[in-house]
Amino acid sequence: MSDTTIPVTPARTRSPWRSRLSRWDQKGSPYAFVSPFFILFGIFGAFPLLYTFWVSLHAWPLLGEHSFTGLDNYQKLLQDPQFWNAAKNTLGIFVVSTVPQFTLALWLAVTLNRKIRARTLFRIGVIIPNVTSVAAVTLIFGMIFAKGFGLVNWMLGWVGVAAIDWTAHTWSSWLAISFMVDWRWTGYNALIFLAAMQAIPGDLYEAAAIDGASRTRQFWSVTLPLLRPTLIFTTITSIIGGVQLFTEPLLFAPGAGAIQGGTLRQFQTLTMYLIENGFTRFEFGYAGAVAAMIFLLVLIISLINIWLVRRISGAD
């Protein structure tokens, strides 16, 4: 912040020194203003990223000697069934949670976009689940889906369905975890969709209405195509969030060994596997390799998205 003390009174008669200062100011200031982000990113983003990669090239127990092993950790990782299991779970839970989430969010956005009573109240309402603590939410959902005294099993009992051990099966655990994710993120996405919908010019709808298009028809032919960029944006943020899914599955079956995500590892996600290697097995080198693979996964999926965006805008 060396230039913050420079006086910048617009002078009528400028000395060369002053004008030079002013030129530096004009050129340098923008960089100075954006620099805090890049400095912070360097310290808290780039450095840990590179350091993690460096660690992943070592046998690195937390207490004890470190030794350089090159790509050994990666080779081991590619043949590690527990890693692929975690990758499968992560992508599976992502799909199971995102499809209903987006459908519901779109429906909510369309509803909130209409002239209904207490609209602002409802709009605030849908975001409330997102601001509650994820740990608290998960603990409560954990009780709702509990085997012995859970609310869901109790209600299923009314219609004669036997109690389901939600944590014990793949399908039921994925479903329960998806519920938790959706509860938090549906309203958030609905508000983003709503904002995008309000940016759509009203005369498009008027024109469509004059042409005799029904509400449903208007949604499919006007709203949805114009929402496409927003949909792509929310998909990318959901992918990043989905690949990093951690708290919900971790707290779904708490207690000893929670990090393994169920007795058959049926809901252990990639980040849980990362933490298991780092902080249960204390193998930081191997955990670093898992982290690098997660990074790679996000990168690949994001690239696919960018490609999709280009294709779609090209088609337009």
């Binding site: 912040m1 527990q82 509990a146 051990d165 207690g255 000893a256 249960t280």
Partner: protein, 437 residues
């Protein structure tokens, strides 16, 4: 430059200065090194319940220059992870830290990170602890002792007298102990219990609690280690003690005795109040847990009998002083004070943790103590006899990781997701993955 931009620039400058000031304040809060009369603060890190409040007051009264601050964490796994990271990072750990039996072996891998009590007069006072307790906190070459024993987890079997009565079983603790000299007898008793029991009450809470107790018993008899031998080689599928413990536990499961609860979860906690099970393997520290979960309603309903298969121990802790402490001398003195026979007695009075000092075993305050909550059970008589004759069980550096992994596989059998044999095959794989071989 527009006025608004100038405002923004001033804001950035102020924010930068404020941030810098905060950082410096955070760095500057540490006190300097301790002179003998200088005011110092000793940080003690514990997990669970150690029962040291009275001892802190007493120590502060006799050491006016010392202030003690305790930080406590309920979850042992979380505590151990945080401690491991701080020890590895070289800062942030307390001056005196509690370490659990299963975790101390991992810290023995890096003895230089802790004060060696042998340099601090440990050899003159080592009779203060059971011999096997000292062995657990000493490196394999015998050169460094990094922990002073606190409590031991002598094994017993806690049971519900009211449920036993309802099922037509005897309720007196002597007679109940006679029901199950061996684990096979215990299973037979369980089958009898199920025939007489009402509702969905099962005999035992979970596979894992039972398994861990049995494993520590079998390993204590021979060969003296569980998942790793003394050279830290994984012995999971070659150690008969492990396989026998697995098989015995699976017999319990096959007989349908388990309530299939996952230990230390909300459902498990709730089950204490809901009559879901009648017995639970009971290291000394578990009694405090039962009392906490079953609450006032459970008072007088519980009693303590001996554990099938003879003596055993599960759990128990140590106090250590990390070398990163700025007040090592004072911290060592405090650790010695807290873990002294008198200190252990005080902790027993406050929290019921069974002392690891044989000097306390004859102490009438312990020997004659009856636990009201557990139908006036003579706690010392039941737990101490077991603890006295124990041989140390060696737990490898990655004991916790392997234990977590195979407990999960055991639960998969318990929940009917795998057969006992499939579970065992999977456990071998899990153990290898967790041990990194």
């Amino acid at each position: 430059m527009s006025p608004s931009l100038r405002g923004a620039r001033q804001f950035v400058a102020v924010a930068a200065v404020a941030g810098l000031a905060l950082t410096m304040a955070a760095c500057g809060s540490d006190e300097g090194d301790s002179g003998s009369d200088e005011q110092i603060t000793l940080k003690v890190s514990t997990f669970g319940t150690f029962g040291y409040d009275a001892l802190y007051k007493e120590y502060e009264a006799s050491h006016p220059n010392v202030k003690i601050v305790e930080s406590n964490e309920g979850d042992l796994g979380k505590y151990t992870n945080a401690l491991t990271q701080r020890i590895a990072a070289g800062s942030g750990a307390g001056d005196v830290v509690a370490i659990e039996e299963g975790a101390i072996i991992q810290f023995l891998q890096a003895p230089d990170k802790f004060v060696n009590f042998q340099d601090e007069g440990f050899n003159d006072i080592k009779d203060n602890w059971l011999e096997w307790k000292n062995v657990q906190a000493t490196t394999a070459d015998g050169k460094a002792t990094i922990g002073l024993g606190t409590d031991v987890g002598g094994l017993a079997m806690c049971y519900r007298t009211d449920l036993f009565k309802a099922a037509g079983l005897p309720t007196d603790r002597e007679e109940v102990s006679k029901l199950w000299p061996t684990w096979d007898d215990y299973i037979a008793t369980g089958e009898k219990f199920l025939k007489g029991a009402k509702g969905d009450t099962k005999f035992v809470d979970s596979a894992t609690n039972t398994y861990n107790s049995i494993l520590m018993q079998y390993a204590g008899e021979a060969p003296g280690y569980t998942y790793f031998d003394q050279s830290n080689n994984l012995t999971f599928d070659s150690n008969p003690a492990v396989k026998n413990a697995w098989d015995t536990t699976n017999k319990v499961l096959a007989a349908g005795l388990s309530a299939n609860l996952k230990s230390f979860t909300t459902e498990w906690n709730a089950a204490f109040k809901q009559d879901k099970f009648a017995t639970i393997a009971c290291p000394a520290w578990m009694t405090a847990n039962i009392k906490g979960q079953a609450g006032a309603d459970g008072e007088g309903k519980w009693d303590i009998a001996t554990i099938p298969g003879g003596s055993g121990s599960w759990g128990g802790s140590f106090l250590a002083v990390p070398t990163q402490s700025k007040h090592q001398e004072a911290a060592v003195e405090l650790a010695k004070f807290l873990s002294s026979p008198e200190g252990q007695m005080s902790a027993f009075d406050e929290a019921g943790n069974l002392p690891s000092s044989p000097k306390n075993f004859e102490n009438p305050a312990l020997a004659d103590f009856k636990n009201e909550y557990f139908s006036d059970a003579p706690v010392a008589e039941i737990f101490v006899e077991g603890a006295k004759n124990l041989k140390p069980v060696f737990l490898g550096a990655k004991n916790q990781a392997v234990r977590d992994a195979i407990e999960n596989d055991l639960r998969s059998v318990e929940q009917g997701q795998r057969s006992s044999d499939e579970g065992w095959q999977q456990a071998i794989k899990s153990a290898k993955a967790a041990a990194g071989v």
